[in-house]
């Protein structure tokens, strides 16, 4: 932890990490004043991003870690998740709502993340993938503590 409004965790590439990330996101979003529906959306987006990091990025490799950072800013809640995988190929992600993909059993994670968050940035590199999720504050409930931009 390096900032009053920022908390970060370095976690193993396990399913427990996924559940822990989801629970932490839910708690922090709730404490930040988001409505219940937004809390659910934030928690689910974080879960999906954590699944991608653990499963697709790090491939459950015990030698690779997932770093998750939560920051409350005057724009809202910013969550950054980094893995140490090979880096996702954004061009290789098909639209899961296209008719030809509807009956596929995977490939909906990033689509759901984009559906639930206000801003999503995905930055793949050879050292891993970083995904930044932002949920804006509606009203003043979550903007009490201003953090540096």
């Amino acid at each position: 932890m390096s900032h009053e409004n920022r908390v970060s965790y370095t976690l193993d590439s396990t399913l427990e990490t996924v559940n822990s990330a989801e629970a932490t996101a839910s708690q922090l979003a709730s404490e930040a004043g988001f409505a219940d529906e937004d809390v659910m959306k934030i928690a689910m987006a974080v879960r999906e991003a954590a699944v991608n990091a653990v499963l697709h990025g790090n491939a459950y490799d015990p030698g690779k870690k997932v770093k998750i950072e939560f920051e409350q800013t005057n724009r809202g809640l910013v969550i950054t998740i980094r893995d140490q995988g090979k880096g996702i190929d954004l061009n290789a992600i098909p639209d899961p709502t296209s008719p030809e993909n509807l009956l596929k059993t995977s490939g909906r994670g990033i689509f759901l993340i984009r559906s639930f968050m206000d801003e999503v940035e995905i930055n793949p590199s050879q050292a891993g993938t970083e995904i930044k999720l932002i949920k804006h504050v509606h009203g003043s409930a979550a903007g009490g503590k201003e953090a540096s931009q």
């Binding site: 399913l15 879960r47 999906e48 699944v51 509807l102 009956l103 059993t105 995977s106 909906r108």
Partner: protein, 115 residues
């Protein structure tokens, strides 16, 4: 909360009452194993009661799709019953709501299966 599953029979239809979370890991595995077991026993009319399923992630959605196609490919029918608002909204967002046959009344759902 982990997922629980129990089955019952009404007029040749197997109703699977699910509760909890269908997520990557245990929940998805329970759903997959339950459907496989039913298919193995020859049950081809399956109604998944999701009334007490409060959470599904993308893996759980994938497992529902897998169950649907598995049953259909073997000449059976799989329908969904009693979606919670969260699950209903998820199926709408992913455009799967019209893929699945979704019912909100058990009696009507049972009668809707091919005789």
């Amino acid at each position: 909360m982990t997922m629980k599953s129990s089955t019952r029979q009404i007029d040749g239809v197997t109703i699977v009452d699910l509760s909890g979370r269908i997520t990557l890991g245990e929940g998805s595995v329970i759903l997959r194993d339950t459907v496989r077991e039913l298919m193995g026993k020859g049950s081809k009319k399956i109604l998944l009661n999701l009334g007490d399923v409060n959470y599904i992630d993308s893996s759980g959605i994938g497992e529902l799709v897998s169950a649907f196609t598995t049953v259909r490919n073997q000449g059976g029918e799989l329908k969904l019953l009693n979606l919670t608002k969260k699950v209903h909204d998820l199926l709408q967002i992913t455009k799967l709501y019209t893929v699945f046959d979704v019912k909100d009344d058990e009696t009507t759902a049972v009668k809707s299966f091919t005789k």
